[in-house]
Each structure stands twice: as structure tokens, then as C-alpha cells.
């Protein structure tokens, strides 16, 4: 016997509530991609090693592949689809990735961007070395790292200056 009872769960994703019934073993990653059609979050290694599945839970960057969907119930989940403004205006990190050409194949990019948004918010984007250290959990098989660091640096500066303007 491999199947246990499906359990009903409610997930709060990008400000919207979703109700679904899943096997307990379903990860948040599979719930997003296969049950809700939110395929922006990528499945790379599916073992917590590559960072392609990075999403935010309650504002913290985590790996969706090692999080059970049931564990995310009652928490605020943000995926790459929820990053841009409602009118389609890109987040500063998304815009910086485009401007700095910070990807080649693009598969790791949603995870890189979600991780970078958190990295900047945590205050861990103060230097290139710090960006490299705190972005280490996101692997890029194409090796676009120099451009990724440049994009994170650019976005961090833009976000910092926009906050100064706002205050």
C-alpha cells in the first residue's frame, strides 16, 4: 500500500487562497507546479541542493522541494509569479536580471531572483563577496554567476536609494 488518505489543505499564495486535497507526501513545489499550475517555481535537483525551487514563506526564502505542502498551511507563500506589481511592473531584482543579462538558459532564474530579493532584504548584499556567500544556495549550470552578482548589486543599490527617497 503506497497511498494514504488525501488531506485537505489551504494555501495562501501570492495573496490568493487556494484549497486543495493532496497526499501528505506532496511537497510545496509539486503543489505549486502540478496542482495549481504555478510552474514559475522550477524543479531542479528536487533534493535541496540547487535552489531552483526557492520561494518565500512568511517573507523568508526557503526550498519548496523540502517543504511539505501541508507544512505551508496558514503561512504566506510568495512565488516568482507574485513578485511583479499587479500592473506588470517588474520587481527591481527582475529588472536588474534583464538589464545585466544575468542568465543564459533561465532555468535557475526564478530561484535566483527569489533568493536575491530575500538576500537584499536580509541586508546580505553589501559587497560582491557577501552576495556570493549569501547567494551560494542557488546554483547556475550555465555559470552566469558574474552577471548574477552584478544584477543583485544593482538591485540592492536601487532598492536602497528608493527607500532613501521614500523616507
Amino acid at each position: 500500500m503506497t497511498s494514504k488518505t488525501r488531506i485537505p489543505i489551504q494555501l495562501q499564495i501570492n495573496g490568493h487562497r487556494h484549497e486543495l486535497k493532496v497526499e501528505p507526501r506532496v511537497t510545496l513545489l509539486d503543489a505549486l507546479r502540478d496542482h495549481l499550475g504555478l510552474t514559475g517555481t522550477k524543479k531542479g535537483c528536487d533534493q535541496g541542493q540547487c535552489g531552483a525551487c526557492t520561494v518565500h514563506i512568511d517573507g523568508q526564502r526557503v526550498l519548496a522541494c523540502l517543504t511539505l505542502a501541508a507544512q505551508a498551511e496558514g503561512r504566506a507563500i510568495t512565488s516568482i509569479e507574485g513578485l511583479a506589481d499587479g500592473d506588470g511592473t517588474l520587481h527591481a531584482v527582475q529588472a536588474a536580471f534583464l538589464e545585466q543579462d544575468a542568465f543564459q538558459c533561465g532555468y535557475c532564474t526564478p530561484g535566483q531572483i527569489m533568493s536575491a530579493v530575500a538576500c537584499i532584504r536580509e541586508g546580505h548584499a553589501g559587497s560582491d563577496d557577501e552576495i556570493r556567500e549569501y547567494m551560494a544556495g542557488n546554483l547556475c549550470r550555465c555559470g552566469a554567476y558574474p552577471h548574477i552578482v552584478a544584477a543583485v548589486r544593482q538591485a540592492a543599490l536601487e532598492i536602497a536609494s528608493s527607500m532613501e527617497t521614500a523616507s
Partner: protein, 327 residues
Amino acid sequence: MRDFYYLRANSIDAARQAAALPGAMLLAGGTTLIDLAKCGVTEPETVVDITYLKGLDGITVDDRGATIGALARMSSVADHAEVKSRFPAVSDALWQAASAQLRNMATIGGNLMQRTRCPYFRDPANFPACNKRTPGSGCSAIGGVTRGHAVLGTSEACIATYPGDLATALVAFDAVVHLGDRQVAVDDFFLLPGATPEREHAIAPGEMITAINIPASAAAKRSTYLKVRDRQSYEFAAASAAVGIEFEADGRTIRDLRVALGGVATRPWRARAVEEALKGKLLEADIVKQASLLAIEGAVAHGANHYKIELAPRVVARAILKMGETA
């Protein structure tokens, strides 16, 4: 991953009762349990989710020491201002472990319970023989690719390395694991493999880590965690050292010293021989380097991991001397 029943514990007692059921396992951050379930190493019948329990994620630090709730996340502890100032080695060990995402997920209790990264242990489909996984089945690592395996504390049954960084720092500073009403020194919590490598921790079914306590000390306050690895970040230690030092009033004579090794042993490894050899001595490079050789007393290599025997004492010496520089 085989399916399982999912239970959400609403109290510590409920969690402990559920965890005592056959085939039940506690789930916190999931970074070990879900990973190993995907590898087919663990096949829980029931997963008991303890992440909704309240009041287990606190961090309090005062003159007596630090008390860290079992559900505190690695990132919260690493970034805690008082942990950084009074236990820098603990913060250093945490932020150099895993990745930012994993540190946001993994809890302190779960961190202590993490399993070895031995590739044979993690691959039951290709390597059925593993005494840790299936007692009595043999060891695929001995005679295999052993670059990451342990040189200290090994047995004929198992040479798997204990992979954690945090516990290496904890064992150096005499931390204590709270299991509800019972307490165990971290040094006693981790078991040598011996003939029973499947038993890794001094914890019984139905017991649960509720907190850890680290006593304050001058050595803990002046401490560091030095981690040497194949790549600069997001990698397990080839060899690491947690070191804490306290000087006499002259600022040069060692009054107290704590040394523990990571990445080279089957459990967090306190190097008391190094500590004893250097207490009362002057902090001088030659003396420190000589004494650091005691860290790998009794080491046994299995082929490709031989380099660790040379590397580990150098890491220890470098960490001790680094603590002296900041005098």
C-alpha cells in the same frame, strides 16, 4: 517518496506520544527527513509535524549562558546579536553551514539530528550494504570512495562522517541537550558507531529535543569556527575546528582552551589532549602547531581520506593562532 500519514502535533506531549508510535518520525524543518525520504533512506509510516508548536523557538542569552529552543531556525540563531557577541563560534558554525534557504528552514533540534552525508548511506538502491541503514548488512564505504569519510572514531562497521558544524561548536563549550525533563551533555548525546552504527544519538523513541543550553564562559566569548572545504561556500567541512581561548592577565599565557573538530570524525570530536597540552603555555606558533598534532591521535585512514590526518591539525593550529592575533 513513499506516502505517509501526516499528523500535526498541538502540544509537546502529543508530539512525544505520536513519535513513540512504530514508524513515526518527527518533522521540523524537513531538510533532513524529506531529503532522506526522497532517497529512500527513511520510510516513515507517520510524519509528526512539530513546526506548529508554540514557544519552542525562543533564544535567550544572559550571563549564565544561552538557551535556544529546539524550533529556533539556524538563521535566527546565527544572526542573534547576543549569540554573536558571547558565542561567536556558534554563530560562525551556523552561517557557514548549508545555504541561506536551508538555514531558514532547518531548526536547531533538527540540526543535531541530521544524518551523515556518506554517499553509500544515501543510496540504498545502488548500495544495499550499509550497517547504519540496515544493521549487519556490511559497509560499502570501506574499500570504496572514501575522500569524505571519517578518520577518527571509526569502527569496522562504519566510517561515516558526522557532517554538522553546529554540534562541533556545541561540544567545545559543554552544551547540554534538553529532552523535556531529561538533560544530556552534547558530548554524550552523539554516539560512536562501534558495532551499532544505526544508533547515533542518546535519545529514545518518544523523546524530543526541546532546547539546548550553552553555558557562558570566557573561552566561548573569544571563539571562532574555522571551516576548510572543497569550495568556499555551501559545502560540508573537509576539516573544521571550533576553538575558544581565555588568556591569563598577561594576554599571552593560555588559561582555558576549547578545541573540537568537525568533518573528520564519526561524531562531534572534542580534542581534550590539545587543550590540556596548551593550558598554561604561551601562545606561540611552534608550541601550538606541535600540540595540535594531538588532535588526530588514534586516527585511521581508509585510502583517499588520508589527507584529513594532515589537514585537521593544521586547521586546529590556524584557528588557535587566529584567536591569539586578536589579543
